[in-house]
């Protein structure tokens, strides 16, 4: 019976002191009765494995003790939907946009190492989310414990008006003109990329030479693939406009690759070199500085636009049913 005593001791640990002896005495008696019944059925004493099976069936000591305690919840079912709504609002819809659009760019442009600045922004965002989660949970736990009378006193006449019904917006197939524009833009961008980044990498403006850094060469092929990806996407939108899920998946993948490339490029500055033999050295240094700041801002803008597009495509993907690649009844061609 040593195993039984160990079990009872483990349950006792989780019980309130005032009830420990009473509950353990009754639980022990119940288990002994159950063991006796088993032994009578088997016609022999229970071995250790048999005893362990009885105790295992009774349950984890902590859970067994918990069943004797009053049921408590930090935030009850009445407040939980509001709690969930506020949490989602702050952690999903308020904090990330602020960090992506304001804090992140400000940190990157503060002049520190861009990769460190991005990591710092991500870490601060995580900490802010954890802090917000803690504060919101504490506030709601306090509201649960000390309900304010305004929760009980309310006036139906003061409920907000019902907003006018919005038409149900289902994802629409890509318009033909947009698909063709996408196709032409992809071809144009690819040709421009080949011309600028491969055939000539230095530009002369009235004695001021702007030369692209070799880093662009090392990214030539991946970026060319990204620009060329617009060709099949445009063709798909033009010839198979109802393949919306496939289109969204491809665009999401391309957005992902673009973000990775942009992130890698951001870390590899300087991106351009300005040379002007006729200008004073200080002026040339300033021109170099501002040309590279401009390029870094440009890369940041590309990253934000790509991110917004990725979010839009992800939303489209979620709103489309899995079997959404069928031709609709009436499709514009």
């Amino acid at each position: 019976m040593e195993l039984l005593n160990r079990y009872l001791h483990a349950v006792k640990f989780w019980l309130p002191k005032s009830q420990q002896e009473d509950i353990i005495a009754e639980l022990g008696e119940d288990l002994r009765s159950q063991i006796e019944d088993r032994e009578a059925a088997l016609g022999r004493p229970l071995d250790e494995d048999g005893l362990a099976a009885v105790l295992k069936q009774r349950g984890n000591p902590m859970l067994v003790a918990g069943s004797y305690l009053p049921q408590r919840s930090l935030i009850g079912p009445a407040l939980f939907p509001i709690y969930q709504f506020i949490l989602k609002l702050v952690i999903v819809w308020i904090l990330p946009p602020i960090f992506i659009l304001v804090v992140g760019p400000a940190t990157v442009l503060s002049g520190r190492d861009p990769s460190l600045a991005l990591a710092e922004t991500a870490w601060t965002l995580l900490m802010a989310a954890v802090f917000a989660f803690g504060v919101i949970t504490l506030v709601f736990a306090a509201m649960e414990r000390y309900p304010h009378e305004s929760m009980l006193k309310w006036d139906p006449c003061r409920l907000p008006r019902v907003p006018p019904a919005e038409p149900i917006t289902q994802p629409q197939p890509v318009p033909g003109y947009r698909a063709i524009a996408e196709l032409l833009a992809a071809i144009g961008a690819s040709l421009l990329w080949i011309e600028v980044m491969w055939l000539r990498t230095s530009f002369d403006f009235n004695g001021v030479a702007i030369t692209l850094a070799p880093v662009w060469r090392s990214f030539f092929w991946p970026i060319l693939l990204v620009t060329l990806s617009g060709v099949p996407i445009g063709l798909m939108g033009w010839l198979r406009p109802w393949w919306m899920r496939a289109r969204s998946c491809v665009r999401l993948a391309v957005d992902g690759v673009t973000l990775v490339l942009t992130g890698a490029l951001v870390n590899m500055g300087p991106w351009v070199r300005v040379a002007a033999p006729n200008l004073p050295a200080a002026g040339v240094a300033d021109a170099n500085h501002w040309a590279n700041v401009g390029t870094s801002i440009g890369l940041g803008v590309v990253a934000i636009i790509t991110l917004v597009d990725a979010v839009q495509e992800a939303r489209r993907l979620v709103r489309q049913k899995p079997a959404g690649n069928h031709a609709p009844v009436a499709v514009r061609r």
Partner: protein, 124 residues
């Protein structure tokens, strides 16, 4: 609509909810005669109302705290056992609950079978 392996069968959840209130009634009714915990559990199981030990004992304590049951420790077969029985207050509450249960049962039967069938049965 089908349910996945990760989501429990809705029937199981609803059945648990349905049984929860009935268990209190069954325990109170069974304790019109004195029982100790293990014997009570067996008696309920024999009558088709099996109840988990980790539900029964906390329930007995709650009902005792509410004054519906009384208990005493007594020696039986050389072992100390805690015997429970219905208090006089518990008897009154049980009568009320049984009346309520019968009313609910009648209403539910009427709803489930349809009014016409019910009236036919009542007439016969």
């Amino acid at each position: 609509m089908s349910h996945t392996a990760s989501s429990p069968d809705p029937f199981d959840n609803l059945r648990l909810e349905l049984r929860r209130g009935c268990l209190v009634l069954a325990v109170l009714a069974q304790l019109r005669a004195e029982h100790y915990g293990y014997a009570l559990r067996k008696a309920l199981a024999d009558r088709g109302m099996a109840i988990d030990e980790n539900t029964l004992y906390p329930l007995l304590r709650r009902l005792e705290t509410q004054g519906l049951l009384v208990s005493e420790w007594r020696e039986e077969e050389k072992r100390n056992k805690r015997f429970y029985r219905l208090s006089s207050h518990g008897q009154g509450v049980l009568d009320q609950l049984l009346e309520e249960w019968q009313s609910i049962n009648a209403s539910l039967t009427r709803i489930a079978e349809g009014d016409a069938l019910w009236e036919l049965k009542a007439e016969s």
